[in-house]
Symmetry: C2
Subunit: 237 residues, 2 copies
DNA sequence: TCTCAAAGGATCAGTTGTAGACCTTTAGGC
DNA sequence: GCCTAAAGGTCTACAACTGATCCTTTGAGA
């Protein structure tokens, strides 16, 4: 009996590859989400390996690959370290040139659920000045940044907003969905006018948060998301 | 320089343990969520190992442990297999007797975001009869079931509702959060009156879905969740 | 009643990943 | 201008995991 195929349909793999591959994915994600912002120094290998729960050997293999691809650069000696490139390299030509519409809808739908909810919760909590400062900082770094370096910093801003929700598990989901959206965005051109508009919306969001206005915060971000959503859907035809 | 500790704060581990441990967690989750319902036969080891992306050796170690703990029972010979116990054993006395309030709020908040959204989306899509049948089936299996066997089937019902949203990534989040909630619920008593009330709410949700009424669906499930949320918060003091 | 296919059970060589010690480079401080 | 601490770079013994093969059990059907 070849077993009920329906039972196996929902069984996800325990791991999505070998340790090296997963570590690469993980690091790429951290870079794309701006958690290690462009131009900064990453933590020392020994600490990073520990935080990732991976041996230094494996981490170093992944870092070597990233260096090869131009994402980071290692410098030896005291006060050396692994430095993030000021501008992340454009991803390779994607394997699948045309995107699966269902997949895109999936990601956009999840995003439309979690990001507005996070913004609403953040505004409800009336964050203290110190917490807001981190968002403010992320916002300022974003102003006038060149197009090529925009995306990681944009992600960072959105993640900082999500963190204000005070709900770590929600932040994790937002980070995840944003990472997927970034992969989609890599396949379409990024236009300066869009950036300007985005930055204005960020400012509006920031104000809603300062005022502790959940309804406004949710509305602003929903609007904001619809912009990129439309862009992505458009490039699908 | 001991590196900027803020940078490492948000770095999650690549893996949460060795393969054996992760496989155990994974299987426990599948059992608790009712994806392998009580009393049924699980897929053959070879197929399950393949689906989990794990060697049969490792899977067998995990299954042996589960058998030891009374979750499953293996039967040899043709038409044998690994059978899920009709009633899952009560979990061991939890390591941490008193729960961390922040942790509980975290899970409950995420749940309050994703489950209502999934129900709303499900109602919006006006699911076809065939899809509704799976939810209906899950609902019927739940009626009159003994208290001890309730939880996996309850989870299954909620997961089937989430599946109707047509958004796989949202289903994944719902599954995840439900798994965490189940762990919390394991620490508090389950009362038959609560079950009756739950089942009534399930019926109301089902009706809202049939009618394609997103507002009602969202309202019913929000109400439903607040019940267990209050219960959990109550047992925290 | 015999056969056999489909399931769990056992074993082992080979590969992958880890932990830890050690080497090399380099800038700042005495 | 030398010393040293902190970083990346290298190597090796050990543990974990895999995958492949074979064994054993058992019920259905010829």
């Amino acid at each position: 009996m070849a077993s009920d195929s329906r039972l196996l349909a929902d069984v996800a793999p325990v791991r999505s590859g070998n340790v090296f591959e997963e570590t690469m994915e993980h690091l790429l994600r951290l870079l794309r989400l701006g958690q290690f912002p462009p131009g900064t120094r990453m933590p020392p290998e020994r600490e990073l390996a520990e935080a990732l729960g991976v041996s230094r050997t494996t981490l170093r293999e992944a870092l070597a690959e990233l260096q090869q691809a131009g994402y980071v650069q290692a410098r030896r000696g005291r006060y050396g370290g692994t430095y993030v490139a000021p501008v992340l390299p454009a991803p390779q030509a994607p394997e699948v040139p045309t995107l699966d519409a269902a997949e895109v809808e999936d990601v956009l739908t999840l995003r439309a659920v979690v990001e507005p909810a996070a913004a609403r919760l953040a505004a409800e909590r009336l964050p203290r000045a110190k917490q807001l400062a981190r968002v403010q900082e992320a916002h300022e770094q974003l102003v006038g940044v060149p197009v090529e370096a925009y995306r990681p910093l944009d992600s960072r801003f959105h993640l900082e907003v999500a963190r204000l929700s005070g709900t770590p598990s929600l932040v994790a989901v937002v980070a995840d969905v944003r990472n997927q959206v970034n992969r989609l965005l890599d396949r379409i051109p990024l236009l300066p006018p869009n950036l300007d508009h985005s930055t204005q919306q960020h400012a509006a969001l920031l104000e809603a948060l300062e005022q502790g206005d959940p309804v406004a915060a949710e509305a602003v971000i929903t609007d904001h998301l619809q912009g990129t959503a439309a862009l992505l859907r458009g490039f699908l035809t």
